[in-house]
């Protein structure tokens, strides 16, 4: 209670009161305003959408744009959605399996080149994906993988694996070794100890990392447009861009598409927010 005895200066009184409230309102409005505008747009019919002067609120709210986007034969949004769901799910499962093993090895075994390996994983996170487009396309053409889900899934590894390995090393290092060692004395082998002791303990972190792999793959655009040519193979990001490319931009269905692409990641993200923030800053705060 020592704070009460010291007189508060002017700056503090201002900052404690109105400035904080005004700042918070502005911040929230700035962050959400564009979404709200898109949501309002998606609920307007054609006439309201292109009204002059601009009409801010939909007078006759309609879901027609959503139906149009979802069922359109030219830009089949439902198909894009399923493509994204499949590519991102497989990427997520495979990335998690691969990075659990690698993360465990790096956290538990002392071997030559361990630090160098960690540094390589860190550096690859900084690689520009535009650099990979021409060589990967050449590679997928040679293997006959253009217009396949595999090409997109494999390409996604280039940015999901380095990050998830890095996160896993952190989670595994925080689990005490004693538990595994006693399990191994009781006759478990390494893999058994990993599955029965370490994985359950690291489960929340692993789940968060897996969802993160899903979310970043969901946003991937450049690989998706470069390695697919058929409309039916496009993911959501690529599909949205394709909708823009068709004749003049149809902002009604497009805004509905934008909202539909945002909702799944927003929901997933709200679940793992705390884990992610922890993972993102763990390395940084320590430094």
């Amino acid at each position: 209670m020592t704070r009460r005895h010291v007189p508060r200066d002017l700056a503090e009184r201002l900052l404690g009161g109105p400035v904080v409230w005004i700042g918070l309102v502005l911040l929230t409005a700035f962050a959400l305003g564009p979404f709200i505008w898109m949501l309002l747009t998606s609920l307007k019919d054609r006439q309201e959408l292109y009204a002059t002067p601009l009409q801010y609120l939909p007078v006759r709210p309609t879901f027609e744009n959503y139906v149009d986007a979802w069922t359109s034969p030219v830009t089949p949004f439902s198909r894009f959605f399923l493509n994204s769901l499949w590519v991102c799910s497989v990427t997520m499962v495979a990335t998690t399996a691969v990075s659990v093993l690698a993360g465990y090895a790096i956290a538990r075994f002392r071997f030559a080149g361990r630090d160098a390996l960690l540094l390589i994983f860190l550096a690859t996170q900084m690689f520009p994906s535009v650099l990979l487009i021409a060589p990967l396309l050449t590679q997928w053409r040679a293997l006959g993988l253009v217009d396949t889900y595999q090409a997109l899934i494999y390409s996604n590894f280039s940015f999901t694996v380095p990050f998830t390995v890095w996160m896993m090393v952190g989670y595994f290092s925080s689990i005490p070794r004693d538990l595994e060692e006693s399990a191994m004395i009781d006759g478990c082998n390494h893999f058994g100890a990993l599955c029965r002791i370490v994985l359950p303990l690291a489960a929340p972190g692993i789940a968060a990392t897996a969802i993160f792999a899903f979310v970043v793959s969901w946003s991937e655009l450049l690989f998706a447009i470069s390695f697919t040519t058929e409309t039916s193979m496009r993911t959501l990001s690529a599909g949205l861009l394709y909708m823009v490319g068709q004749y003049e931009v149809q902002w009604g269905p497009l805004s509905a598409g934008v909202i539909l692409s945002t909702v799944p990641v927003a929901v997933l993200f709200s679940f793992l927010q705390r884990h992610l923030i922890h993972g993102l800053t763990a390395g940084a705060v320590k430094g």
Binding site: L54, T124, L132, H190, L240
Partner: protein, 309 residues
């Protein structure tokens, strides 16, 4: 029928336990190593090789080794130099503004108020949604005839006629940078918020008792303690923004007249639209060199920060 059974001698394991443990460790690394090899290492080597060839996808008859030909073309290409300058504007414009507003946001979100958790989640939204979605939302906001930005500015009396933000050579860069700022504020806000929460309250209280005002406390306690996280966040953000092509590609495609063309979108267009893999390869090598320089600098700086702690 009798079988001859001799007591089996206890043999030493073929491979010692230590070596076996090491082998198990390496075998766990194999899948991740293969992934990186196939999707990062080999492609980078391939990109370097491509940069030495005349390699345009739809002109296979012209495919041949040309040595440093693509690099000579690069040095003589005025657009390339323009993209480097544009990258500087794009990177520093975006990162400085993201940092300033992100810091302000972190300080606000650190205050205790009702519904803080909800506000924190909501303000993160711009950062987590796909880049193409960000681009499209802002294209619609900037739209000359039906965009809400023009409408609001005119209603407020700050402008008299509609502006074509994204197709005007003078405004397009500012418009895409502003969009990128919107998107990146949450990144700095979360990183700095985590740093702020790690500062012990006692420090502020002690300073307060000693008569230090809000600004003095910010300057002498908050900033120095946050320095490591500021360095890390800013450096990673600079590298990432330099590489980031999605937003500009979606919003302007580098136009009008290359006004928003940065080096990474230029590389993308060479590979994706012109299918000129040789030239794209040379540009990729430049990107790679810039990235490595930044990363080396970053590692030095963070090491310096660690040592001064």
């Amino acid at each position: 029928m009798t079988t001859l059974s001799l007591p089996r001698p206890r043999t030493r394991p073929l491979i010692s336990w230590r070596v076996r443990k090491l082998l198990i460790g390496y075998s766990y690394l194999v899948p991740a190593a293969l992934c990186m090899l196939a999707t990062v290492v080999v492609p980078i080597i391939l990109a370097i090789k491509m940069s030495l060839y005349a390699d345009v996808l739809y002109k296979p008859q012209d495919y041949r080794f040309i040595g440093l030909g693509n690099y000579v073309r690069l040095v003589q290409d005025p657009v390339f130099w323009l993209t480097l300058w544009n990258s500087v504007v794009w990177v520093f414009g975006s990162v400085i503004l993201q940092f300033v507003f992100g810091f302000a946001a972190a300080l606000l979100l650190q205050q205790a108020f009702r519904g803080r958790a909800l506000v924190r989640t909501l303000t993160l939204l711009p950062w987590i949604i796909p880049g193409v979605v960000v681009g499209l939302i802002w294209e619609w906001l900037y739209q000359p005839n039906y965009g809400v930005i023009n409408d609001l500015l005119i209603r407020a009396g700050w402008m008299h006629e509609r502006v074509a933000w994204l197709s005007s050579p003078d405004l397009a860069m500012a418009a895409v940078v502003f969009t990128n700022v919107w998107r990146g504020i949450p990144f700095f806000a979360i990183m700095l918020l985590a740093g702020l929460q790690a500062v012990p309250d006692e420090l502020y209280e002690a300073a307060h008792v000693d008569g230090a005002g809000v600004l003095e406390r910010f300057w002498h306690i908050t900033l120095p303690l946050l320095r490591p996280i500021i360095v890390v966040a800013t450096a990673t953000r600079i590298i990432w923004t330099f590489n980031y092509a999605d937003l500009i590609f979606v919003m302007t495609g580098g136009g009008p007249a290359n006004a928003t063309q940065i080096t990474s979108t230029y590389t993308l267009l060479q590979a994706y639209s012109s299918l000129d893999f040789g030239y794209a390869g040379a540009l990729s090598v430049v990107l790679l060199l810039v990235m490595l320089t930044f990363t080396a600098l970053y590692l030095r700086v963070t090491k310096g920060v660690e040592e001064t702690e």
